[in-house]
């Protein structure tokens, strides 16, 4: 059985009612819930489904559709590699592989020390800087394979 503390339930209820407990506001509700909790565990999705009067399967469907949403806690430094068209043709996949190798995790996972998590996203609107990597809010442009280690070094010190 899932458990959740009443404090967190109150937080989710507040978010849902902020959006009028409207089914159609599901994405906004999840967005805000993720900002609040850092991720969207099963319990949070359950309470959201209950409050918006929709099915848990539907909530889970939306969470798994959008790469922005995550069900695992992100690392202290969440790394996002843009794999939109421009970045992709300029080698984003190789950059992604390089990160995977250095951190020894797959996309969507977090390192054991909870320091880094790895995600890919589609286009951050900085195609001129392709390939683009984000660490938290910081944008790195024209990243090269050698640059990967240097980026990680910044956060490992």
């Amino acid at each position: 059985m899932m458990t959740i503390c009443e404090n967190n339930v109150a937080k989710i209820e507040a978010i849902c009612s902020e959006f009028g407990n409207e089914k159609g506001e599901l994405i906004n509700v999840l967005h805000k819930a993720q900002t609040t909790f850092g991720y969207l565990p099963e319990e949070v999705q359950s309470i959201v489904a209950e409050n918006l009067n929709t099915s848990l399967a539907h909530v889970y469907g939306v969470v798994t559709f959008y790469s922005f949403f995550t069900m695992v806690p992100k690392g202290k430094y969440p790394i996002n590699i843009c794999t939109g068209t421009a970045c992709y043709v300029r080698g984003a996949e190789k950059i992604l592989d390089e990160f995977k190798e250095h951190l020894n995790i797959k996309v969507g996972e977090t390192t054991k020390d909870e320091k880094f998590s790895l995600s890919s996203l589609r286009c951050v609107g900085a195609c001129g800087l392709a390939p683009v990597v984000l660490v938290g809010e910081k944008v790195y442009g024209r990243v090269t394979l050698d640059g990967v280690e240097e980026i990680l070094k910044e956060y490992n010190e």
Partner: protein, 591 residues
């Protein structure tokens, strides 16, 4: 109705304004193939995800092909359905769908009844031109339904049935791109989900992604075991649909041939669930009259409306979604379970057969019945009252496997004593039937007067929610009827809000009632088939000498010899049940 003129392949047609090319073509007899679109006219269910892209056509003046299912006809539109460009595009689309579809057709449970297979045949597919990455999902086997998502083509008909029609919310589309799949929340097994096993997902699945759990092999094994007495019961809706599997027109009653086939298969006794349906009316009707009398005498504690409880999909639905109201439905078990309970006590005694040597098989139009039989409360010392449930489709398979030529069978009669039934029992198979049967008996018991006209047209039909007030000799009795769980939900919410004025409500989970059950021959989107089956059941009712449950002599004898009276202690023990809160509780802690 406003109409417009269009041309399809240079032929002129007049079609209603506002229709899509696909619907327009269908209405004038032009076939445009599709794998995802579904429109059940009489039930007002539409599913058009524009997903499969098989239905593309050329429209003069437009550069690209358009999906016929999502393009509205405009006046003077010139549509081309048979150009080489259209045919080649459709073929390529189909080849791409096949590129990640398993090619085990010969041993697939849907072999011969698969929309994808017949389309590949119709389009003359002879090679796999594309071989894509294959998905390898874990097969999910519940008590009733098997999910094999490698065979899913993403039409999402099941998602529409589960969410929009049934409002169960067990299935949803999850993930995206190639990883996209239909699954319960968190990809849990169906058994852990809110699934009610109504089987409407299975009823509309074009492939073998969703099928019933097949028990034919196990039943054959027991039939071959001489130490077992194998008895069978057949639900009312089966006789109105089984014939379709053998080439009869929808709505052909095959009661006698079905009975003959079961005897040829080697069942020791062939009985009728209708017998137990009559028994249900005795128990449920008595309960209704008891609640009604107390209510009319001013007892405020009495729970009304009484909700029928013969549909296991519906029982699961309120256990999951309305557990706060679980003391409102009748406590009467379903006819299937009443049959099992009586067979393994009264009948076993009569036949001198030990409980463990008796095997009770049910033939049901339903998949939820497979789950129902597995519920703990319907077992005694681990021995279930009903051992196996076969769907109408499985029975057809069993008959074919045994090499029985169904069409040439001489009709046979049900065995006694559990084969005798009234016309009231046979209409249990359609929406409105259970409550009509209950009214026939309740009226006579309540008013102590003879009912001269047993047919209640006002309770019949196919509208999702129906209501009627029946005059019980001066006392107006308000009846509600809902079929499809989404409609049941509406009536339940009314009750919860204290707005319900009904005395009794009949609910059936499947569209049309059991005639549209998840275990019936597939209707392939043609809701006329359901209407034909409904008509057949009313015809069988009309043909019966006894048309009221309480006049069934075998039922009268059962009470005299064994049960005592309806709702007696013994009847309660064997024929009633209780319900459980199955809502997905989240424990809320302080810290």
């Amino acid at each position: 109705m406003d109409t417009i003129n269009i041309k399809i392949d240079n032929k002129n047609f007049q079609v209603p304004k506002g229709t899509t090319i696909l619907e327009a073509a269908k209405s004038v007899g032009v076939k445009i193939p599709t794998l995802c679109h579904m429109h059940l006219h009489d039930l007002n269910v539409t599913h058009k995800p524009t997903g499969c892209r098989i239905c593309v056509v050329e429209v003069e003046g437009r550069k690209n092909l358009v999906p016929a299912c999502a393009t509205e006809c405009t006046p003077g539109m010139k549509i081309k359905n048979q150009t080489i460009r259209v045919l080649n595009s459709r073929k390529t689309v189909l080849e791409l769908i096949l590129s990640d579809h398993p090619s085990d057709c010969l041993i697939c449970p849907k072999n011969g009844d698969c929309d994808l297979q017949s389309m590949a045949q119709e389009m003359g597919i002879r090679h796999y031109y594309y071989k894509g990455e294959q998905s390898t999902y874990i097969k999910d086997r519940s008590a009733a339904i098997k999910r094999d998502m490698d065979k899913c083509i993403g039409c999402k008909r099941c998602v529409t049935m589960c969410n929009e029609v049934q409002t169960v919310g067990a299935l949803s589309s999850i993930n995206r791109g190639f990883m996209s799949v239909v699954a319960p929340a968190f990809q849990m097994d169906l058994e852990e989900s809110v699934c009610t096993y109504c089987g409407q997902c299975v009823a509309v699945c074009p492939t073998a992604a969703l099928t019933e759990i097949d028990h034919t092999k196990t039943v054959i094994r027991h039939l071959a075991d001489p130490s077992k007495t194998v008895i069978v019961q057949t639900a009312p809706a089966v006789r109105a649909a089984l014939g379709e599997e053998f080439g009869y027109d929808p709505g052909t009653l095959v009661t006698g041939k079905m009975t003959a086939a079961l005897k040829d298969l080697g069942f020791n006794y062939v009985f009728d669930t209708d017998f137990a349906a009559d028994l249900t009316i005795m128990e449920e009707g008595t309960e209704l009259l008891d609640r009604l009398t107390r209510h009319l005498n001013g007892d405020k504690t009495v729970k009304l409306p009484l909700l029928t409880s013969c549909c296991p999909g519906w029982v699961s639905f309120f256990e999951h979604h309305f557990p706060d109201m679980k003391d409102i439905p009748s406590t009467a078990r379903s006819p299937q379970q009443m049959f099992g309970a009586i067979a393994k006590t009264y009948l076993a005694d009569k036949l001198g057969v030990k409980r463990e040597d008796m095997i009770v098989v049910s033939i049901m139009p339903c998949l939820a019945k497979k789950y129902e039989r597995s519920r703990d409360e319907f077992s005694t010392d681990g021995n279930p009252d009903v051992d196996f449930v076969l769907s109408t489709r499985e029975l057809a398979r069993l008959v074919k496997q045994a090499g029985i030529d169904f069409k040439s069978l001489e009709p046979a009669e049900f065995d006694h004593p559990m084969g005798e039934s009234s016309g009231a029992a046979v209409i249990f198979g359609t929406t409105g039937g259970v409550i009509e049967a209950a009214v026939r008996t309740a009226y006579e018991v309540f008013t102590k007067e003879k009912l001269h006209k047993v047919e209640f047209q006002q309770l019949r039909g196919m509208d999702w929610i129906r209501e009627s007030t029946i005059d019980f000799n001066g006392t107006p009795i308000k009846i509600g009827i809902a079929h499809g769980l989404g409609n049941a939900r509406k009536l339940l919410e009314e009750i919860r809000d204290g707005k319900s004025e009904y005395h009794a409500i009949e609910i059936m989970a499947c569209p049309g009632g059991c005639i549209g059950g998840g275990g019936q021959p597939l209707h392939h989107g043609d809701s006329n088939i359901l209407l034909a089956r409904q008509k057949a059941l009313y015809a069988e009712d009309k043909s019966k000498v006894i048309r009221k449950s309480h006049e069934n002599p075998s039922i009268i004898k059962l009470y005299d010899d064994f049960l005592g009276a309806p709702n007696s202690e013994k009847a309660h023990h064997l024929l009633h049940t209780n319900y459980f809160d199955k809502s997905n509780h989240i424990e809320i802690t302080k810290e």
